[in-house]
Subunit: 402 residues, 2 copies
């Protein structure tokens, strides 16, 4: 096992890293040259920034968001004061969780959910309660049932938020439909009483949609602007090494979140914000997005074709083709345990392929943990290795089922 | 008042920013060119890093530290696994505080102390207890008395750490002598029982020593390596916009701190770490340090000369010349209230100069808050404006004392 793990040819379909070949070397070079060639802008970029982050970049992010949602910057739209820059969207999720939650508080999550966010909740002593999903996202009926049950248990006042990854979900690859988003938001607002329930929309993969309709952000449906918190990032759409993320917050949350950020780091690295300002205010960003969408779409198509060739004939193996993002979520027959101690993991590593066991993605409460899922990522590997990896995985599954 | 505050000629001796003129534009340009000219190193720099941070940079930081302490990398020295990179030393301080402290826990701090750290403690619900200092740092006798008193109060088990800024303290400008460091460490180790007391050495200004003996880090005196936590940063010595800081941790703290960092951001921006690796592994860093030491020394000398000319004749006004760092800590007659509601602040702003009221720098427990101190920073302003600022301040003080 140790030898198999150390195998340099092991194909990792586990890592959530982005494609190495399409990283934006040229755009970054151009942006940094522009900043450093002028002594004044160069020195500004190397100095401290503010806690909220570079205002022109926050303006640009807001403008991009409103444009993507097809709404005008009218009096109802959020203002630049509601946009906060962080070192990746994870830091924003952590700040939001720290701001909203006390130990014992409840966040309702899709089941499955992004495992790093579940880790944040666990670290803060908060409870993650899972609600089932279908091909359009979290099930409104199940959400309502879960809320009712929590109320019956006397926990209604502990419910502080609902967490969703509306675009090409990590891990399930689901994009929530506009209609479904509306239904979920309606339920959240209706159940929000003296104790407000926020809806955290983690839109990390919004720019990585390869096909399908443009779904406006659930934030654009939040009429009084007090419920939805958006987390965004340039890590997936541009560069994780630059690590610039953001939040668009209800106005009433801004001060407490900035107070907290002031204590932690009084602002994320300003140089990186300046680079991203330069990138998004030119054609560099749009051009790069088009390029990586094409590259990831090809990889996704490769994975799906390989899955049809090698996995489709195995009884009980199912998946839903994602329309964006980096992940395919594979359901295996109920008797297969995909976990680190199970036979499939050992068989897969011996066959030369690595995956993320699905069990890490399930909130422990609510629907509970399931052991027969795996997350596959097509972000890092080449098309050749994606094909080889799926073939190896199919062999491992067949072996496990014998 | 509002008009005076909005005065564009207002001279801020308050901001802790670094000198704009000597920011390392050329070294950053060279380092980034080296990274981006090769497609492989460029893509690596734009990808995710690890939670602990770039290993070659951690190696380089460790080597620099051991060299500065004049000790060999022998079996007793910390290893690279004990070095963690963060987005500035503040993030490290926050992580350490989150890891060590529960609400109600106690950190003994110099009185005065770095106000941002006091803010972190307040945010976490921890108690900051102040211990008086003299020209060599925290007073060992007073520290011992404070520990005894806390024990009498039944609080011994809540004492989790002692926090020091050993080099050119923010705000007091004091560099702790080697002998004093030894005495403090001995007391901390002796009082450390079942509940270990850590010593947090915030060495943000270690590279900014302009004169005086080289004082080895208090960490080098920590024989079993289990007590001292070092926080360091390139923000002051190189660029705050790059914002790369680090911690050197007792081995037993590494895992829990990395777990927590994994939840918060799974690693600080890797691009910045790669830039700093390039910088410290060439002559760029040493050359830059020499340049800024000279620039800051000139500014310090200017401030001290102006203080001699304009402040020395005012009865009850005292200061200790710092041998490094960015701050001069001014004691005013006991009857002066330097706070935001006091007459001196208004007089100073009207005279055209801004300072940090000393009251923010005192832990509320222990020695208690004092209202007749101010922190002056010579980092940002030109020598001309430092002179004008001190002259204006002298006028404001004279006016307040009438």
């Amino acid at each position: 096992m140790a030898q198999a793990l150390a195998n340099p040819d092991l194909i990792s379909l586990a890592a959530g890293f982005v494609d190495q070949q399409t990283l934006p070397v040229e755009p970054v070079r151009t942006a940094i040259e522009t900043i450093l060639k002028d002594e004044v802008t160069a020195c500004q970029a190397l100095q401290y920034g503010t806690t909220a982050g570079d205002e022109p970049l926050r303006q640009a992010i807001l403008a991009m968001t409103l444009e993507a949602d097809g709404i005008a910057a009218d009096s109802r739209a959020p203002t630049v004061d509601q946009v906060v820059l962080t070192a990746g969207s994870n830091q924003l999720l952590h700040l939001v969780a720290e701001t909203l939650l006390d130990p014992g508080d409840i966040v309702i999550c899709a089941s499955p959910s992004y495992f790093v966010f579940l880790g944040i909740l666990g670290y803060l002593g908060a409870r993650a309660v899972g609600v089932d999903v279908d091909a359009e996202g979290m099930l409104p009926g199940r959400l309502e049932q879960t809320l009712e049950q929590l109320e019956r248990q006397g926990d209604r006042d502990r419910i502080k938020a609902v967490y969703l990854v509306p675009y090409s979900d990590n891990p399930a690859g689901i994009t929530m439909s506009a209609k479904r988003g509306e239904e979920i938001l309606e339920i959240v607002c209706r159940w929000s009483g003296d104790q407000r329930i926020h809806l955290i929309a983690d839109e990390a993969y919004r720019s990585l949609q390869y096909e399908g309709e443009n779904v406006p952000s659930i934030r654009s449906l939040d009429h009084d602007g007090q419920t939805v918190i958006v987390a965004g990032t340039f890590s997936k759409s541009f560069s994780p090494g630059m690590r610039v993320g953001w939040g668009i917050l209800p106005a009433e949350l801004v001060d407490s979140l900035l107070d907290q950020k002031g204590n932690i780091d009084f602002g994320s690295p300003f140089f990186n914000q300046r680079v991203m300002r330069e990138v998004v205010s030119s054609a560099l960003y749009g051009d790069h997005i088009e390029k990586i969408r094409a590259a990831y779409q090809e990889k996704r198509d490769t994975l799906l074709a390989a899955a049809s060739d090698h996995l489709a004939m195995i009884k009980g193996v199912k998946w839903q083709p994602p329309t964006g993002g980096l992940y395919v979520w594979l359901e295996l027959p109920g008797e297969v345990n995909t976990g680190p101690g199970g036979t499939l993991m050992a068989a897969a590593i011996n066959a030369g392929v690595l995956y993320v066991p699905g069990e890490y993605c399930f909130p422990s409460e609510g629907e509970g943990v399931r052991y027969n899922y795996i997350r596959l990522s097509y972000g890092v590997q080449s098309v050749e290795r994606i094909e080889q990896g799926i073939e190896a995985l199919a062999r491992a599954i067949q072996k496990t089922l014998v």
